[in-house]
Amino acid sequence: MPTASPLFEGADWTLSSLDKIHEAVTHVGVDELGLELYRNRIEIITSEQMLDAYASIGLPHMYSHWSFGKRFAQQEMLYRKGVVGLALEMIVNSDPSVCYLMEENSASAQATVLAHAAMGHNHFFRNNRVFREWTDAKAILDYAQFARDYVARCEERFGPDEVERTLDAAHALQDQGVDRTAWHRRHSVAHERERIAARRRHERESESEFWRAVSSSPKAEGEPVDVDRQAEVRSLALPEENILYFIEKHSPGLKDWQRELVRIVRSLSAYFEPQRQTKMMNEGCACWCHFTIMHRLREKGLLTEGAMLEFLHLHSQVVAQPDYDDQRFSSINPYALGFAMTRDIERICTEPTDEDREWFPDIAGNGLPLETLKRAWSDFRDESFVRQFLSPRVMRQFHLFRLDDDPADDHYRVGAIHDDRGYRRVRSALADEYDPGETRPRIEVTDADLRGSRQLRLEHRVRAGRTLDALEARRTLRHAARLWGYPVVLKEIDEHDDSVLATYSETAS
């Protein structure tokens, strides 16, 4: 029942009407939906500034590097030719959270974008476990500024070319700069030496004369164990999946400032990793928020009919899913799937069908849609979210099917479709697609001879014959060798039979 007068009329907005819009949106978001937010810092920017923000991958400060210039040149060309439009907003995962709004947006779009980013994304950043564990929202703005200044100082002292070479090399490995599967504690050499000594002491003390007499093992009397060497190897904590970390800590060829540069690249890579792992959920959360908040504002009479129609048009564009054989198709639209799944969870909680009761016995009909969603937003990432919550109904809605490509077969094969037999297989395959452990090559440091040849050995455990692109591998390895300073060898080893599929080796140039 409309009771209040609309927040705005027409498409134009002013700073004061934007203030009112923001207040109304926040009221619904925080007071009615109970979203927990970082403080928002909303900044109005022009399209050129948005292009700038694109180029520095969203952070307000970024160090200088030609690759950002390349990104800028490309974006600019696409934008000027009208191939792509610019995003209406951009938000930085920081505390306070920086939210850029484009000045070209109409008033209705500004309201949508505020509900989307300043409410939805903000809540997600603050509450999702992956973000909480991997990123430090309070520190990132300062860190980015530090990184920018540090790189600038290095350029002054050591010359831009030197700095560029190091950054190029570190960038090549930035996907390998993340602790993806496990966060394990690393020990120092001293710590390891102590641990080994303690264990040997314990062995000696618990050894009884009796057992020695029974089994006089020759090993016990053998050559003396080099405790230092053992401690050193153990302290390397091999195998190590975070190649950049390993290089930063152990590379024999890096100068201190270069180590710091590698660290900067690694830190920023880790900072962005959660965004990659939760893209679909994050957008789903944001879309659900803008959808719910805008409807709520309309119910309260704060939006005119025109504004609402404009919003619906915008919304339907955002969550459109092109067909697999459509020219525009590149992958499943994370906005579309995220939004559909979020709405679906809401529905399962309130109006479950028999099918839902069978598939989701723990949440079906629990009457707590908001609590259920918040729990999902905080505890899951894309992969586990799909595995847990993708319902047959959404699979039917999207007509999902699985296509298998086996190089031994000259045909593609449809592995499963959206029917009773296929639901679980489709769901599992889609979850795998969102799993970085599954889709990205698993490359680890397996050995580093720090005393002898100083060779660094990497291993790629090849799943299902998916070997590396040879040219790219060679080029990347060249960069790794540049950072390591000594020869680097990469072996591709089949996961199942341990056969070596390919070997690359590069020496530092």
């Binding site: 050129e48 180029a55 030609w66 800028f72 296509l403």
Partner: protein, 437 residues
């Protein structure tokens, strides 16, 4: 509390530094692309930025990625319409990836990277290795002298710029508004006072003279106070003439392209001439805010034509080179007053001229053309030596022109045989003056 900040007035172009780094890195490729690009451009089109497509090699960012063609892949796709489980779909020929467009073809022949160079970046690279002759620099600097222009009034300034009319205007308005007694009123009272004291007059309203005197004295005192409080000229009245220095837009040049289109010039030779004109145009364009181009072609008589006709029109006939000079002079007279325009003239010809005309040419050149021009270049297009015959001895026209270059610093002659000559010759033309100076 949340805050909304308007950042629109913050400086843009934060990415400029990164962009320059990128351009520097890709420089060798860009340079090649720019020179390639030159061939297809019309002479007068140096306005636009450049779409430059460069091999992605130098600006490629490698990483460990999986080969999209190797191994088993499973993909979940939306919007199934007709498939059932177990259906087999023929692989698209060419062995590309699944339904999507992912995966670029690998190998050294990677996708090109296309982006737009701004005009500035384009020209920087284009004239990168080209030194500006000092002579041209000086002359050009003189063309854009800073000129002071009235730009309203300011409240502050040097005394010699004070605008009296404005200042007094303000002063008077203020004095009237604040009721400052004028000298006239003061004098009248004093005069009355004096006469009262001398007993020459009596107050008209019948009051006693003493009271009137006291009244006037009090008024005078009040007037004196008021005059002290409200100064005749207050600092807030002051106005000064304000001048801004502006570059007077007189930095304009006109470039005359003269070409012999008689039968002896074939397409290749015209193409050489075109490229030369184009370079000159670009070069001038960088120096002047406005550059106009006049195309004059000639056989036995000359006419002004548009660019299209200039390069592609077909016309045959004899050759009278002097007709082109005459036409030039006529156009200058008509449209380009020499006080306002920098004149540049480039003549391209194969050197064939009617023997009787050569004397007329040199006379026109030395007496009429050279004195009004900033720079005159004569480029003789020689036939491709790889072709039918070896280079003939210099033409008669060349022989006639050659001696003139010694007397006139801003006249130069060069010969071009093949496209690769153009750059060196162009550089040479502009270098010559700096050497002789």
């Amino acid at each position: 509390m949340d805050s909304i900040i308007d950042r629109r007035h913050n400086p843009k172009g934060r990415s400029l530094g990164n962009r320059q780094r990128f351009v520097r890195r890709a420089r060798s490729h860009i340079r090649r692309a720019v020179k390639e690009n030159l061939r297809d451009r019309p002479v007068t089109d140096s306005e636009s930025g450049e779409n430059v497509s460069i091999p992605a090699d130098d600006v490629h960012e490698p990483g460990f990625v999986q080969d999209t063609r190797a191994g088993e892949h499973r993909r979940v796709l939306p919007r199934n319409r007709e498939f059932h489980e177990g259906d087999r779909i023929p692989r698209p020929s060419g062995g590309g990836g699944g339904g999507g467009s992912e995966g670029s073809e690998e190998g050294e022949g990677e996708d090109n990277f296309t982006f737009v160079l701004t005009r500035e970046e384009f020209l920087d690279i284009f004239f990168e290795d080209l030194a500006l002759p000092d002579m041209v620099k000086q002359r050009i600097a003189a063309e854009t002298a800073p000129v002071p222009r009235r730009a309203g009034f300011t409240k502050d300034g040097p005394p010699n710029r004070m605008n009296l009319v404005r200042t007094m205007h303000n002063s008077m308005a203020r004095r009237v508004a604040l009721g400052r007694p004028g000298m006239g009123a003061l004098n009248a009272l004093e005069y009355e006072l004096e006469r009262l004291r001398n007993g020459e007059i009596q107050p008209a309203d019948g009051q006693s003279a003493e009271r009137r005197i006291a009244e006037i004295e009090e008024t005078l005192e009040r007037y004196a106070r008021r005059r002290k409080q409200v100064p005749y000229i207050d600092p807030i009245d002051l106005r000064y003439n304000h001048f801004e220095t502006v570059q007077r837009p007189i930095a304009q040049a006109v470039m005359f392209c003269l070409m012999d289109v008689s039968a002896s010039m074939d397409e290749d030779m015209k193409d050489l001439a075109k490229r030369f004109f184009m370079l000159l145009h670009l070069f001038l364009k960088r120096q002047y805010e406005r550059v106009e181009v006049v195309f004059i072609r000639h056989t036995q008589h000359a006419e002004e034509v548009d660019e299209e006709n200039f390069f592609h029109g077909r016309q045959t006939g004899g050759t009278v080179v002097s007709s082109a000079f005459a036409e030039t002079l006529r156009i200058v007279e008509e449209r380009y007053p020499i006080d306002d325009w920098n004149l540049y003239l480039a003549q391209a010809s194969d050197g064939d001229d009617a023997p009787s005309d050569i004397k007329r040419c040199t006379d026109l050149l030395t007496e009429k053309v050279l004195p009004i021009c900033q720079y005159v270049a004569y480029v003789e297009i020689a036939r491709d030596p790889g072709g039918r015959r070896s280079l003939p001895a210099q033409s008669e026209l060349w022989d006639a022109y050659e001696p003139l270059t010694a007397e006139h610093h801003h006249f130069a002659t060069r010969r071009i045989q093949r496209p690769s000559d153009i750059y060196p010759v162009f550089r040479d033309l502009f270098r010559k003056d700096s050497v002789t100076q």
